[in-house]
């Protein structure tokens, strides 16, 4: 059992169910979750779009409708809100730009406005990036700022050294990263820090073996992964942990067969969608990251589209955008 690394055959991925589930999401107006999640609707659309793209069904959603909707969420400051009429936030600006790239419509917006918005969120003294005009700092925003700017070939418009330094200060004794200097290591923050360093071409500052070991340690007996020691497994960490290991070149350090089994067991066999863990109610966030995790783990029962571990978008899209260069900027000794 310990040597197994071929994905499991016992459960299958319910491709059509998941596509139908994602397509049905904008029709559930009577459900409380629908209107309570208004503020992150843009991210919800992004999660759904990634899910269907990775399932090989990028045409499942209404492209023109999505583009028009995204454009309507842009504010005067150049950033995007989570929905029409909401203040700009770097989180939703990221989702909006990712969607426009996925639907090949980045030319519909003025690059300079978005670049200026993102560049304006950097503290000119400390190099830290805020999430909005309000000043909340987090390593998530370090990653997102570099990612957004990379789509516009404008990474140099901010102080990249300052961003890298902030990420470096957030590195912990266990090799992981927290939300800021001193913060406990958390797999999702690890992803954001590694992806930021990948874009900046500065993965050399990472303690590769120690961090990879810590990430591999996240796998529990169920096959699922947790985000921190002593926490429950959760399907979304299939993405946060595995994407990190992929960047580090160490995906094979977890038992991928058992991980695939865990993700598949969290599917809703009736309505489609994937939940955080078996028996819970499915949502679009876990559906997206469960499928992305299966793609990274090399699930082989049906052809999944390969996902880029830095951008969480199809590799083909990232290649077309000319952004696979991060892989060639890995430290020499990693190759």
């Amino acid at each position: 059992m310990s040597q197994a690394s071929d994905p499991v055959k016992s459960e299958i991925l319910l491709v059509e169910k998941h596509v139908e589930y994602v397509k049905s999401l904008d029709k559930k107006h009577d459900e409380i979750e629908y209107w309570m999640t208004e503020h992150l609707r843009v991210s919800g659309v992004y999660w759904g779009a990634v899910a269907v793209h990775l399932l090989g069904r990028g045409d499942a959603l209404d492209r023109d409708g999505i583009i028009a909707y995204i454009l309507s969420c842009q504010n005067d400051d150049g950033g995007f809100g989570g929905h029409v009429g909401h203040d700009s936030h770097i989180l939703y600006t990221m989702s909006a730009v990712q969607l426009l790239v996925m639907y090949d419509a980045l030319d519909k917006i003025e690059a300079k406005r978005v670049v200026d918005y993102v560049a304006g969120l950097q503290d000119k003294v400390t190099g830290e990036i805020s999430g909005d005009s309000w000043g909340e700092k987090d390593t998530r925003f370090a990653y997102i700022s570099l990612a957004i700017l990379s789509f516009f070939d404008a990474v140099d418009t901010i102080d990249v050294g300052g961003v890298v330094s902030y990420v470096q200060k957030s590195m912990n004794y266990d090799g992981g990263f927290g939300s800021g200097p001193g913060g406990e290591s958390h797999a999702a923050q690890v992803f954001t820090c590694l992806a930021a360093l990948a874009i900046a071409g500065r993965l050399d500052i990472v303690d590769r073996d120690r961090l990879s070991g810590w990430l591999a340690e996240r796998q529990l007996k169920s096959g699922g992964l947790n985000g921190r020691p002593q926490k429950l497994e959760d399907v979304c960490y299939s993405w946060w942990v595995l994407s990190s290991l992929k960047i580090l070149g160490r995906v094979h350090w977890v038992d991928r067969s058992r991980l695939c089994g865990f993700i598949l067991s969290a599917q809703d066999p009736d309505a489609g969608g994937i939940a955080d863990r078996p028996g819970d109610i499915a949502d679009v966030y876990h559906t997206c990251f469960g499928i992305a995790g299966l793609s990274l783990a090399g699930y082989s029962d049906c052809p999944l589209v390969e996902v880029d571990p830095v951008y969480c978008m199809p590799v083909a899209v990232i290649e077309k955008a000319g952004l696979r260069g991060w892989a060639s900027r890995l430290p020499k000794e990693w190759k």
Binding site: G65, A68, Y69, S72, G213, R228, R250
Partner: protein, 355 residues
Amino acid sequence: MVRIVDSELDQEDLPSPLPMSEQEEWSDVVPIPQDDGRHPVCPIAYKDDYREMTDYFRAIMAAGEVSQRAFDLAGRVIDANAAHYTAWVYRKKLLLDLGLDISSELDWVSRISERHIKNYQLWHHRGALLELLLDPKGIADKTQDERMQIPAIRRELQFVGEVIDKDSKNFHAWSHRQFVVRLYGIWDQEMAYVETQINQDVRNNSAWNQRYFVLTANQPADVFVLTDDVADKEIAYVMDKIKLAPNNESPWSYIVGLLMRHAPNMLYERLLPSINALAAADEYALAVSSTPFFWSALVDIYEEQAKALAGAEQQQAEVMAFASEACESLATKYDPIRAKYWEYRKQTLKTASAC
């Protein structure tokens, strides 16, 4: 990493059962309904009371109204849906423009916090309020004990403490504690707090992380100096905690990580004899020698020792052989789910010893 936050409408804070459209106070405002545009991808359908509230809120924002009622309305929108970050931004702007009492605002955040304890905006709002309420420059000449008598600091620590009592691994709460401790330089009390937390739950990794944060006073690895005395104290402390639950990742990871960063020689000079003694003691031998964390620590320690033995080839080879055996035991016996990882470690050990 945006998560969908559980939230629900809370009726108790609503001032009147009447719809806003029938309240005298709001008769001068024309609500602005949500414009979902013509795009079928994302039409929004609200529950009626929330919809009405946000329609009025939209109108207030559109008019840029600066008033107590606008401030209260923003609060109701937040309590109905704390992840509505635009409402938080507007509430803070009104708080400042109206010159309202910051302490009362902190109390309000406390009151609604239970329903929204994992909400990013709530914690950020608290932090920003605290900085406005008590400027750290103003207390720079006070001792740590004196600082602990300041009501704003006491209230904040009590608030975070209550949150951690309910959810001992709340990521936001621990971050906020770090923010408060760093902002006001109150490190001494924090070590006492950490010990209480570890005593309550020796498996709480957040508390172990906080121990490192306090011990190093959040100084970077190249600035903080770990003296032999302190290292010995930490080793003894960790040994006591490992005895309580040998198969607990946190203390192992803490002590190996701490020494590796700040006193690598102490890994093999002091930690190694301590854990070997524990693994040989009748009472703990079985539990300690069957946990992967013990073997994993051995690999790290031997590897560090081998580096220090550069030049002494025979001794170095001996230490490498120990490390290699530990990797082997982990891959086959104690941690087979991560066999690939341990095989790699074993392989790179060989490379290192060959050099």
